[in-house]
């Protein structure tokens, strides 16, 4: 098991190394002359040349990459171009904390919610409840966050006036003051994953309910309740648990849109800001960090699955 975990971790590191290359070359090499980009189209050629020298752009690409990577690993993520050359790292970590709070809130909404809805639908298979949940989740799964978010704002902020439509928080806000501002964005970010987990749980539960070993359990004399808790859930929730882990990674994508819609100062909004300003060090740092979170969530999913599934645990 430990060997398996280490192997997965090695795989994650390899993926990260590859994506760091992709990100570096995509941002540093592809858009043309970075120095020109920084100084603007009308800069004097001498100034551009001087900056090129300063940024080390005259060195071979590989050397540039290795230097960048070396610094990155040490926590020196460079200076932001768009915010008066302030260091990138503290900025990114601060925003990550905000995103993590929002993401965690979304997570505790959609994981239990999705499991309960999925189980409910599976146990009432082909009954009206099941149809409503199935069609509802099928519809929600394709709805972009900004559409559901806008509708939620329209209903809960504008019509009912229960919750604020914007979620710009300040560092001094305590959790108590933050919470009302967090509810709408968290729900918005949660809905797609909620739908996904619901469908996943329903499908695997239905499969388990129709399996031969459930028939065995019934014919052993177990009551439906005992069958559900001792035999069905264990196998049915195995895929759900792994999907829940992977969904941490998906949240990253959803947060970009959600944070932007609710003006919430998180990592996603920072990425968008960096993109709009073409702030290359900031783009590099945020994307690599997001990729890392994504890979780690995938790894967590694999490890959890291996841990829960005796077929893999005892090979």
């Amino acid at each position: 098991m430990l060997k398996y975990c280490l192997k997965r971790l090695g795989f994650v590191l390899l993926t990260l190394l590859l994506s760091s290359m992709v990100i570096f070359f995509a941002t540093q090499i592809l858009p043309g002359d970075v120095a020109q980009l920084i100084l603007g189209r009308f800069a004097r050629p001498e100034a551009v040349a001087a900056l090129r020298e300063e940024l080390g752009l005259n060195e071979p690409v590989v050397v540039q990459y290795l230097k960048w990577l070396f610094n990155f690993v040490q926590g020196d993520w460079g200076l932001s171009l768009s915010t008066n050359n302030s260091p990138v790292a503290p900025l990114v970590w601060g925003r990550l904390k905000n995103s993590a709070i929002l993401g965690a809130l979304a997570f505790i909404i959609y994981v239990p919610g999705g499991i309960l809805l999925g189980l409910w639908a599976a146990l009432r298979r082909n009954k009206p409840v099941d149809h409503v949940i199935s069609v509802g989740s099928l519809s929600l799964i394709g709805l972009p966050e900004f559409v559901t978010g806008v509708i939620l704002i329209a209903v809960f902020s504008l019509e009912l006036n229960w919750l604020p439509p914007s979620s710009s928080i300040s560092p001094s806000d305590g959790l108590y003051r933050m919470l009302p501002k967090l509810i709408l964005p968290a729900v918005t970010a949660a809905l797609v994953s909620l739908a996904y987990i619901t469908r996943m749980t329903r499908a695997s539960t239905v499969e388990a309910l129709y399996s031969d070993y459930v028939r065995t359990a019934y014919l052993k004399g177990l009551s439906p309740r005992q069958v559900l808790f001792r035999h069905v859930l264990r196998n049915a929730l195995m895929p759900t648990v792994t999907v829940a882990a992977i969904s941490i990674g998906w949240l990253m994508g959803g947060l970009v849109v959600t944070e932007s819609l609710f003006s919430y100062p998180g990592l996603g909004r920072l990425l968008l800001f960096a993109i709009q300003r073409r702030d290359l060090p900031l783009i590099q740092a945020t994307t690599l960090l997001m990729t890392a979170i994504f890979c780690l969530s995938n790894m967590l999913a694999d490890v959890l699955y291996a841990y829960l599934n005796p077929r893999i645990r005892y090979q």
Binding site: S211, D212, Y213, R215, T216, A217, Y218, L219, K220, G221, L222, S223, P224, Q226, R230, H231, R234, N235, M238, L308, N309, P310, R311, Y314
Partner: protein, 718 residues
């Protein structure tokens, strides 16, 4: 409940009581010893139906039968006969869309026809034990075996975790599970099929139930494993005090372990009664046809046509009028199609649903008329393989070849040959290398060493290296009819392709030829434009055979072409293969795990074990003593459809080892019941030629010694 003192030993197969009876008759005069043993379950005119997407289906109609304590009742039927529905329905476990629509079920003197689920739960597991067809699916993959078994005792006997676990381990020991303590701590995927089935049986027996329902418990297992499980089932009757309700498609299995049998067809019971009586004097044309569809281990019946049953089981939505079997019955007269058939008693306890049963002897004569297809004598060798080996490196992804691991020797220096127009049968259990042998001959796999030759001319090893003229000469028929035809191509297109490649016929000429070939495999020309999805399994296999013959090959490789089909269909295909061979004179290489089928159609037989040939020669020599010890074990594992035959039981322990763990010596030494010592495990066995024939046995034991200890498993006692 369990009155052991009252137990009487039941002579196997003879004179055992039967509980089968027509609706509600008294127990008197049923051939057993009346009053001694109570009827555990009695089903009376039971009908079961399903609500499906395309309408209401009556799966079981008006079936009556009974099983008594310490009796085993075998319910036999081909697919679609409703036997599993009946078995599960009789213990009130039906899918949500299924319903008992008529009749009654009496279990231990109590009417359970309308009991609720909660009440049935008290019977299930406690008084009714169930064993399933596929043990690897029947156990929960994420719970340790001991716990799963123990659960049953926890619920019904109120034992705590520890006590129930102890009980489980103890019961596992009673079904002769090796090292039960250890096995109880494993997960299902860590055990082989045979071991898993023992666990399921343990689970069913834990609370010493009165009724044991077994739904095809050995179908998913290899022959030698099946034999061990069947021994176990047979011993249960003696050790436990239960009634056994055994469901199977395999008449031979029933003959081996059941006291009474019922034969089902299209949801109705055709015939029931004491097993010995039904096998000796069947009274229903369906039973007769079925019994004569199975190839027998008799020298005189070899290479003769089998009975078979033409046509298909009727759709349960459009049942024929009158007798359900009448559209396929060779004895049917107008009257059969007019009125419903009631079961009649033909002998004490023997019931049949045919009003012409008095003509049974005439039927039997009619049915015995078989054509014979003798092999040509003295023809030259057509296909031969010489020291063919195929070794694999254990592969784990294309980037990392497993280094340092021992090779998997799927084929190990195999030498065989088939004369023109003859059939070579290759038998062996799964993993013996028979499929690798076929694939190496076709060139789909490149052998590591050795050669395949046609008419003594060596063939290029890979299919890509063979010219068209050579490719034409070797064709193949595959095991799974569903997968052997492209679902997107019509029957005609499928047969046309080899004609297009291997012949220079014009478009019209090909069309004519296709129709001709269709006729030769007994398919109507209306099938020309059908898609595979519109054909039954047997018809699909006919198209597969047609495609192989279209190329007019010299050799046809038959890769278990019968094993996915019902016996009655198997028989018609055996006939077709025999007839086409006489007509077109191809050589067959017939691969199968079914010894009786191989014996029936082969002129030569090779027995394979772990990639090696252990015995090879003329069929009459191979299946007669002296045998190779593995051949002996295989033969004695095969259940004989003749209940009077006395079988020598040689049983193999454990399962086939992995082909990578084979080192020097005899491949079979680790399981050989006649193993002698270090020479077996260290020295490659010598080829011993049988006097008077060119059969060879690869064994360290001298032939005389083998002859002295072995006897044919099929000598008749009566």
């Amino acid at each position: 409940m369990t009155d052991r003192a009252n137990m009487t030993d039941i002579g196997e197969g003879t004179g055992g009581g039967t509980g089968a009876r027509a609706g509600g008759d008294g127990a008197a005069g049923l051939g057993g010893k009346p009053g001694e043993r109570e009827t555990i379950i009695r089903i009376d005119k039971l009908s079961i139906g399903y609500e499906t997407e395309s309408g209401y289906v009556k799966s079981v109609r008006g079936v009556s039968l009974g099983v008594r304590r310490r009796e085993s009742f075998g319910l036999v039927g081909e697919s679609g006969s409703g036997k599993s529905t009946l078995a599960l329905g009789s213990i009130r476990y039906l899918a949500a869309n299924g319903r008992v629509t008529g009749g009654s079920i009496n279990f231990m003197g109590r009417d359970i026809t309308t009991l609720g689920r909660a009440q049935m739960s008290k019977l299930w597991g406690r008084h009714i034990g169930m064993v399933y067809q596929n043990p690897s699916l029947a156990l929960n993959p994420s719970i340790k075996i001991g716990r799963q078994i123990a659960e049953s005792a926890q619920i019904h006997q109120g034992l705590d975790k520890k006590a129930s676990f102890r009980k489980a381990v103890e019961t596992m020991g009673r079904v002769s599970m090796p090292d039960p303590e250890y096995v109880a701590g494993l997960y299902p995927h860590q055990l082989s099929g045979g071991m898993l089935q023992r666990c399921v049986i343990t689970m069913a027996l834990l609370n010493t139930p009165s009724l044991l329902v077994m739904d095809e418990p050995t179908t998913a297992l290899d022959v030698t494993t099946q034999a061990v499980v069947l021994d176990l089932v047979a011993s249960l009757k003696k050790d436990y005090d239960s009634a056994v309700f055994y469901i199977t498609h395999d008449l031979a299995v029933v003959a081996r372990i059941c006291d009474s049998i019922g034969v089902m067809y299209a949801g109705e019971l055709m015939e029931s009664g004491p097993a010995a009586e039904i096998f000796r004097a069947p009274r229903h044309p369906y039973t007769l046809s079925l019994l004569n569809s199975i190839p027998k281990f008799e020298e005189e019946g070899r290479k003769k046509s089998l009975r078979g049953i033409d046509g298909m089981i009727p759709s349960l939505r459009e049942l024929p009028r009158g007798c359900v079997f009448s559209p396929r019955c060779f004895m049917a007269v107008d009257e059969c199609r007019l009125r419903a058939i009631e079961m009649e008693e033909t002998a004490p306890g023997h019931l049949t649903a045919c009003h012409r049963w008095r003509l049974a002897e005439e039927m039997e004569r009619e049915i015995r008329k078989g054509k014979s297809y003798p092999a040509p004598e003295g023809t030259p060798v057509s296909l031969s393989v010489d020291k063919l080996s195929k070794h694999y490196a254990p592969v784990r992804g294309a980037l990392r070849r497993g280094a340092g691991k021992s090779l998997i020797k799927a084929l190990n220096s195999v030498t065989l040959s088939v004369p023109k127009g003859c059939t070579l049968g290759v038998v062996g259990e799964s993993g013996c290398g028979k499929t690798t042998l076929l694939r190496s001959i076709t060139g789909l796999l490149e052998p590591t060493s050795g050669e395949v030759a046609l008419d003594s001319q060596g063939l290029p090893a890979s299919v890509g290296g063979r010219p068209r003229s050579l490719l034409r000469r070797i064709q193949m028929v595959f095991q799974n009819p569903d997968a052997s035809l492209n679902p997107n191509q019509t029957v005609a297109k499928c047969i046309e392709r080899p004609l297009k490649i291997f012949s220079d016929l014009s478009r019209a000429g090909r069309r004519e030829k296709i129709l001709e070939i269709l006729e030769s495999v007994n398919l109507p020309s209306a099938y020309y434009n059908r898609l595979p999805g519109e054909l039954s399994g047997g018809e699909l296999q006919r198209v597969g055979i047609a495609r192989a013959f279209a190329a007019e090959p010299d050799v046809i490789l038959l890769d278990e072409p019968l094993s996915a089909l019902d016996v009655s269909v198997q028989a018609t295909l055996v006939n077709l293969l025999l007839e086409l061979q006489v007509k077109n004179q191809p050589s067959y290489l017939f691969i199968s795990h079914d010894l009786a089928a191989v014996h029936h159609i082969s002129d030569l037989i090779a027995v394979m074990y772990l990639g090696r040939v252990v015995e090879f020669g003329k069929s009459e020599a191979v299946f007669k003593p002296p045998f190779h010890p593995y051949t002996e074990a295989l033969l004695s594992a095969v259940p004989n459809p003749d209940p009077d035959a006395e079988q020598v039981s040689v049983r193999l322990e454990g399962s086939v080892p992995s082909p990578s763990s084979v080192v020097a010596g005899c491949a079979f030494h680790s399981r050989c019941p006649r193993v002698r010592g270090p020479e077996c495990s260290d020295v490659s066995p010598p080829a011993r030629r049988l006097p008077g024939s060119d059969a060879v046995i690869f064994c360290h034991i001298p032939l005389e010694e083998l002859s002295a200890v072995q006897s044919s498993p099929y000598h008749r006692t009566g």
